[in-house]
């Protein structure tokens, strides 16, 4: 599961485990239709890592229970997924959130479209963005997340969704994944610099909005 030979040292095992945690990190798949697949993978990796570490600790006798290093990632995942930790109990859209969680996108969209224009608050935009994101309509998703974030800049859920999309849009890389190659593209440095400034600008804007 971890892709290491039985002869691997403890450090090598740990290294392999960390790489995989990064790959399947729940934050990367928050709100994605593949969230369940990713968290299933994460569980398998945690189990495999636990088994190896406890086996090595007990000199290969038997596998006891021990917490994995990144144990906290094993569960349903944090991040901004609709219905996860941040969801407020008094949400007027809790039914819709549940539908989105279950990947019942068409029904959720129908209910959202039925909401009268004057009742469309930040949460409505966030949920509509989530529906678009799951459908793969990424441009609409980003503009809805941006609108939710503008209407309620203090909400960590909306901000996380917006920042994650902006990160992808600027870098072309999945959130939390480092560039696989060590060398840079044959691209002019000033462009990189521009992008850097752009990111900084967004970052500052968010901070400004948050305070």
């Amino acid at each position: 599961m971890l892709g290491v030979p039985p002869t691997a040292t403890d450090d090598e095992v740990k290294q392999a485990y960390r790489t995989l945690v990064k790959k399947y990190h729940p934050d990367k798949y928050a709100g994605s239709p593949l969230q369940d697949v990713a968290s299933e993978k994460m569980k398998e990796i945690n189990a495999a890592y636990d088994e190896i570490t406890s086996m090595r600790k007990n000199g290969g006798k038997s596998a006891g229970a021990s917490g994995s290093y990144y144990g906290e990632y094993g569960g349903s995942g944090g991040g901004y997924a609709p219905g996860s930790g941040y969801a407020s109990g008094n949400s007027q859209f809790s039914d819709i959130r549940r539908l989105i969680m279950q990947n019942r996108i068409a029904e959720a969209e129908e209910l959202l479209d039925g909401v009268a224009a004057q009742q469309r608050d930040a949460e409505w935009y966030f949920l509509k963005g989530s529906v678009y994101y799951k459908k793969g309509w990424l441009d609409e998703a980003l503009s809805h997340f941006a609108q939710a974030n503008r209407m309620n800049p203090n909400n960590p859920e909306y901000r996380a969704a917006y920042q994650q999309c902006m990160y992808s849009r600027n870098t072309g890389m999945p959130f939390g994944r480092a560039n696989t190659s060590g060398t840079s593209y044959d691209d002019c440095d000033c462009c990189d610099w521009c992008i850097g400034m752009y990111c900084l600008n967004i970052f500052c804007n968010c901070l400004g909005g948050g305070c």
Binding site: L138, R169, F175, R177, N179
Partner: protein, 292 residues
Amino acid sequence: MFGYLKPYRPELKIREAETYKAVYCGLCHELGKNFGPFARLTLSYDFAFLSLVGMSVRQEDEACFGKCRCIAHPVRKQACCLPGKVQAFSAAAAMVLFYYKIRDDLADRGFRKRLRAFLLLPYAKFVRKRALAVCKQASEVDAAASRMTEAQQKLETEGCSSVDRAAEPTAAFLSAVLGTFLPGDETQAVVLRRFGYLLGRYIYLCDALDDLEDDRKTGNYNPFLCAEDSADAAEHAKGSLYLTVAEAGAAYDLLETGQFDGILENIVFLGLKNEVERILKKKGEGGNERSL
């Protein structure tokens, strides 16, 4: 499809480059064998990619390599991926798509394109029929391609201004095609469908970005020109494409790949992005020459 799904050569290992070439050659042979020498001219990187993904996720169809002769290299025998189920499927998919492309060109405004399409139509009809006879799954590709063409024509006549909606038919098509690879494994099929959706979206948007200047001149439909603020259409396109590339990468990470994973990783995490940069750079230089 249009040949946007290709590896970023400088980062490809030599053995990976050779394997890639062998798969490409194998596909070319398959096209020639089943559909005649003309079919070889329709070969593109996209179908080589389709073969790579198919062989990588369907781990029971291990690819075999051998040597074969090729018209393009008459003296030395070339390394070549020997025919298999996936290669046959890719070749059949290429032919089905060729037919729909010709049908689409018939409705085009330009006279020369229409004439060319008219002359090629009997051949396209023949190869499509053969593809459906040779490969069982080609009928699924055919149904998806037919849905795609219909939806695309409707969008274009409407002058759809939403980039997402405009990319939907191509995205749905590739989603359906990749979805056929693993009929038994629903979890992985979900990942493949999402991956295919995003790649289809990528191909469509790349093509739209590539044709931006031409469409501006001729007034042909282009989703980026229909958007409200068409002045920085290229910038808009770059953002949409990067977002798509990043999402495709996240989907790829969940795919259980076997052989060729190094090449696929190169294509998904470097090749896709590099291709966007190449198109933008070409525009920046103002010329139409293609970079090597």
